[in-house]
């Protein structure tokens, strides 16, 4: 499949792909083998036509009279999202949000492994952070620790561990410089939690999570409800 021949895919369809995956994984946990577009859309308040249209951007996955095979569609969606393989991810910023991300045990099951943590604060560098519970808080699994590294080790660590994704959990006034350093070190995608707009090359992916914006969208809804419902 030649990517240059595919029509541009709308962002909301890509976002919904993640939601379909969650829903399919939930069906799988309940031992469901097949699912219709109607069933897949139902809990997400989407029509079956919308589900079929979204999935059709990426291929032909349904079987007439059967619907979608749950296992098969999970594998296909993971392949499309790129999470059929494990991504090594680094974190810049070992403050409160950084610690929350280190402790967050929902990444592993989704194909992301936090492998390195960096900070510019000399008092934090070399300190061991943890223990954090591994996925599922399974007591038999080893606890995780992170040793905070200096930024001078960013580039060599990215190369050595083949890291392509970085999470920025840093103050707004430091975010641009640190984003630049990540890109120079070979990072291809940035998840930014700092409430600033970052200038990055167009071939680098960026996704920003501004926590105040999330609340603003809520206050809009509470003010204007029931005009819109967020996806």
């Amino acid at each position: 499949m030649d990517p240059t021949r595919i029509d541009p895919i709308p962002n909301p369809a890509v976002r919904r792909l993640s939601l379909y995956l969650r829903q399919l994984e939930s069906f799988k946990r309940k031992d469901r083998r097949t699912v219709s577009s109607k069933q897949l859309g139902e809990s997400l308040h989407l029509t079956d036509a919308q589900v079929r249209k979204d999935l059709a951007y990426f291929g032909q996955f349904g079987h007439p009279g059967i619907g979608y095979r749950v296992d098969d569609l999970i594998a296909q969606v993971r392949r499309i999202l790129g999470t059929d393989k494990i991504w090594n991810v680094l974190l810049v910023g070992a403050g409160n949000l950084g610690r929350a991300l280190m402790a967050y045990n929902g990444f592993d099951a989704k194909g992301f492994r936090l492998v390195a943590v960096f900070d510019s604060d000399p008092s934090k560098i070399g300190k061991r952070q943890g223990p954090f519970s591994a996925e599922g808080s399974d007591a038999s699994k080893p606890k995780r620790f992170f040793v905070i590294q200096p930024l001078s080790e960013l580039k060599s660590t990215v190369e050595k561990m083949g890291i392509r994704l970085a999470i920025l959990a840093v103050p707004p006034d430091a975010a641009q410089e640190l984003a630049d350093q990540c890109v120079e070190s070979g990072i291809r995608g940035l998840l930014n939690f700092a409430p600033v707009s970052l200038n990055i090359p167009r071939d680098i992916a960026i996704n920003s999570v501004d926590l105040a914006v999330q609340l603003e969208q809520l206050s809009f809804q509470v003010n204007f409800s029931p005009l819109v419902q967020l996806g």
Copy 2:
């Protein structure tokens, strides 16, 4: 203005409203008095037509030959988003993510004031969390503390403090029950960080931030780039 007479407003337009507000606030800090739709769109990689169309859902704000008055448009957008007033917000969950949210000092300037924190863990209840720096880390401003309250005080606190928004920073298996408790206590909008889909009444606003989904969207982009660029 009768809200029932307004056409439904697309979610992406509402999301961009928050971005316009950030951009306008940045112009204001640089003492800009007026701005064109082209200038407003530029740093967000949006066309001037898109900016005008988005704003037109909410009213007529531009002035021929002048553009938008920065102060005026900031006030209008805040009014639309509901952040022209202060919203009292509560937090459920005093774990690592909860602590990061308590320490996050970007809410106040946007019109949100975290006023109460709840947890179900008896070992946390009554404990003082902090000190956390106030907005801008200004040393002259008082440090903030939170005393973790039991869930039995949820309803009375919501009523006493007129709280309408809640942040859920709890494990996935506790999220539905705690969301229900929030709604029963009078909460009108929920910001959910648990990676689960919650069933809530249709007249309650909900916005979910699934951190793994944010990374999934990035890995998709890095895989498929340059087909899409996230907003």
